[in-house]
């Protein structure tokens, strides 16, 4: 029997038996068309592109690459559905469609979790306990707003924008689809959704769910493809709103492209989140919070706590405990229920991480990486911590989007705030302290859209999420999340 050792355990030589979830739960088709006007197009009518399992490099299925003409057809279907059906569907009826979608996601949760893990590489524990339940919760929450828009604080009868073009990233594929679709539909818009090139599958399962919910044709259209498909959507004159989640680089290009047009825009971009640790913080919880902040989802998280700012007086103790904890992280088969850190999503992302880590070493930071064994096939990167990092190092300034933590120190709360804000980003920060008044003092001075106190990477449909500065604008979640899709 194969078993993986748990290295450096104080309990001696422990081994974990494999506890894999069955990949057969995924029930994937060999190839997929586009979801336009309520039906899938013939896969053979499009250029087919493989989507691979990043943990094995095996092809899972092939999906259609939507050309500009396909995007045009999807936008026109969305426009037609908006004009003829969705804009004259009452809020109460829209709500009931969204509740149906929430329920169907809950019913197919296990299947969706497996699909997500296969296509993305994230641990099944996370797709099962975070991505899929939160996606269902998001539809459930916004369903409840559809028939209450007059109470949302935007006036007596807030109107939708029309057709929304939505471009989502690969790090939380289904959850990002839910974040985009649920508020847009609740507010009365129709949608054209462009999933990420490397993670299209859960959105295509979602298309099946929309069919099962009998959502009127054209209300949601899903076009798979790469950056060219996204660009066609952004440039389409029939789109009233663009919502984009992804890199700051692409967000900048999108903002420039829609500049001067009447198109509404919200952007949720990159980040370089500071996790600030004061010397009175509860140490065990804080170490877990640091781990969760940077290694959750392999660090493929725009709000990751990728800069640890630790107060000098406790830096040695924190680093010692951190290193021990990193060594205990189980890296490997994402379908294994005991896995903590899964596969890097793509070869390209792995190359980006490797480049920045090499820069960190070159610029003089001290690297420590887990001694864990990495699988032979697939894309992997061992959890890594850099110390002796200065604020000018690339690993302290640029978003790595991988399991790499940069550690800096500070002495006073003023210095912590100054260092935390010394970035062009402003998405999320963490503050660890037992002193509530100081936490709030720091929170008032941090330039970030989300601040977690004594926790990290918490998400809830009722809680607005989004950034300031070059992390973007607009919010997803909560009441502000509706504003992104209303003409207010």
């Amino acid at each position: 029997m194969s078993s993986r050792p748990l290295a450096n355990s104080e309990l001696g030589w422990l081994a974990y038996d494999p506890a894999p979830e069955s990949s057969s739960l995924a029930r994937l088709a060999p190839s997929y068309g586009l979801f336009i006007d309520g039906a899938f197009t013939d896969p053979g009518a499009h250029q087919q592109v493989p989507t691979v399992n990043p943990a094995t490099e095996a092809t899972l299925a092939t999906v259609a690459h939507a050309a500009a003409a396909d995007v045009d057809r999807a936008v026109r279907a969305a426009r037609h559905a908006y004009d003829t059906v969705w804009s004259v569907t009452s809020g109460a009826e829209r709500a009931k469609y969204l509740y149906r979608i929430a329920r169907l996601i809950q019913e197919r949760a296990r299947e969706l979790a497996v699909v997500e893990t296969l296509d993305n590489g994230k641990p099944i524990r996370e797709s099962r306990d975070v991505d899929i339940p939160l996606a269902a919760a998001h539809f459930f929450y916004y369903a409840g707003w559809a028939d209450k828009l007059e109470h949302a604080g935007f006036g007596a009868d807030p109107r939708p924008l029309g057709v929304a073009g939505q471009i989502i990233p690969w790090n939380f594929p289904l959850l990002m689809a839910a974040w985009k679709l649920a508020p847009a539909l609740a507010a009365g818009n129709t949608c054209v959704l462009k999933p990420a090139e490397t993670t299209p599958l859960s959105a295509l399962i979602l298309a099946e769910i929309l069919q099962q919910a009998e959502l009127p044709p054209g209300v949601v259209n899903i076009v798979t493809g790469d950056g060219a498909t996204g660009a066609a959507l952004v440039e389409h004159p029939g789109v009233d709103k663009i919502a984009f989640t992804g890199s700051t680089e692409v967000g900048r290009a999108i903002q420039a492209r829609v500049a001067g047009r009447a198109t509404h825009l919200t952007l949720e971009l990159g980040g370089k989140g500071a996790n600030i640790v004061f010397d009175d913080a509860p140490i065990d919880e804080m170490v877990e919070g640091i781990i969760d902040g940077i290694f959750f989802n392999q660090g493929h998280v725009c709000c990751a706590g990728s800069r640890l700012l630790v107060q000098e007086t406790v830096a040695d103790e924190v680093l010692r405990r951190l290193q021990r904890r990193v060594e205990q992280l189980r890296v490997g088969d994402p379908l294994d229920k005991n896995t903590d850190v899964g596969a890097i999503n793509s070869r390209a992302q792995l190359a980006r991480i490797e480049e920045l880590v090499a820069a960190g070493e070159r610029e003089g930071a001290t690297r420590y990486s887990s001694s864990c064994a990495l699988p032979e096939h697939g894309y992997w990167f061992a959890p890594t911590v850099f110390t002796d990092v200065s604020q000018s190092h690339r690993i302290a300034r640029e978003e790595i989007f991988g399991p790499v933590l940069s550690v800096l120190t500070f002495r006073t709360p003023e210095e912590a705030v100054a260092k935390a804000n010394n970035t062009t980003y402003g998405l999320a920060c963490g503050v660890w302290s037992e002193k509530g008044s100081r936490t709030l003092w720091v929170a008032q001075r941090l330039r970030a859209g989300v601040i977690w106190a004594n926790t990290y990477n918490r998400f809830d449909p009722t809680s607005p999420f989004g950034g300031v500065r070059e992390s973007g604008f607009g919010r997803e979640g909560g009441r502000p999340g509706l504003a992104a899709y209303l003409d207010v």
Partner: protein, 282 residues
Amino acid sequence: MSERLDVRKTYKLLIDGAFPRSESGRTYEVLDARGAFVANVARASRKDVRDAVRAARAAQPRWWSASAYNRGQVLYRWAEMAESRAGELAAQVAAAEGLDATDARASVGRAVDRLVWYAGWTDKVTQVLGGANPVAGPFFNFSLPVPSGVVAVLAPRDSSLEGFVDAVAAPLCVGNAVVALASETRPLPAVLLGEMSATADLPGGVVNVLTGSLDELAPVLASHEDVDGLDLEGAPDAAGELAALAAATITRVLFPRTGGDASLRRLRAFVETTTVWHTVGQ
């Protein structure tokens, strides 16, 4: 072909998740809108009222401590149950209110939609009724709506299902437990909906449904010291009298009012505002 003889049901109370007859053993005759006999319905006693209030008090903390998302899903589940038994509800609404089958079915549809509307409020009421207060000084100050506790509902006399749903779901969705007295003359749709709550994962005691004499039981509920809120919708003629009884323990009272059913009147009726001051400083 001979017609099959139907099996008839005994209609009972709902107290603490169980379906007892009245401890008094009493019943009264319920007639349909044309005056024909429908059923002998349990006639609750003062003791049944006290049992129901005790059950509601015990169940309320657990209901309120569940996440708002969870409470929303439970209320939505109740709507699912009602929808799947819509035919049964419509038959009783038709008999009670003298509606034809189409109108009765439409009334059930509106009642289910209303329940869905309230299900969606559980995780939004805090955001609409609460908020941060920009006080002058180094403080973070915020206000949250919290439930009053146990709410006694005298359900509307005429609207046997829609009115019952509106009066009961509103205090529930903000975290109260409810003791409802169904319409005296038209109680059966409410009794059915109570039965459905038991298959919707509503914890026992969160909703209690009594049937019986309004004149006998309303003063008991109004003067009960462990009742925090009183909805007088079903007792417009005795509202002043009952409100005076409620005053003894500063019970919150919602007076009957026509119209405005889409307003937040009922949501606001049985919530309190809790305000927290927290210092800000290094």
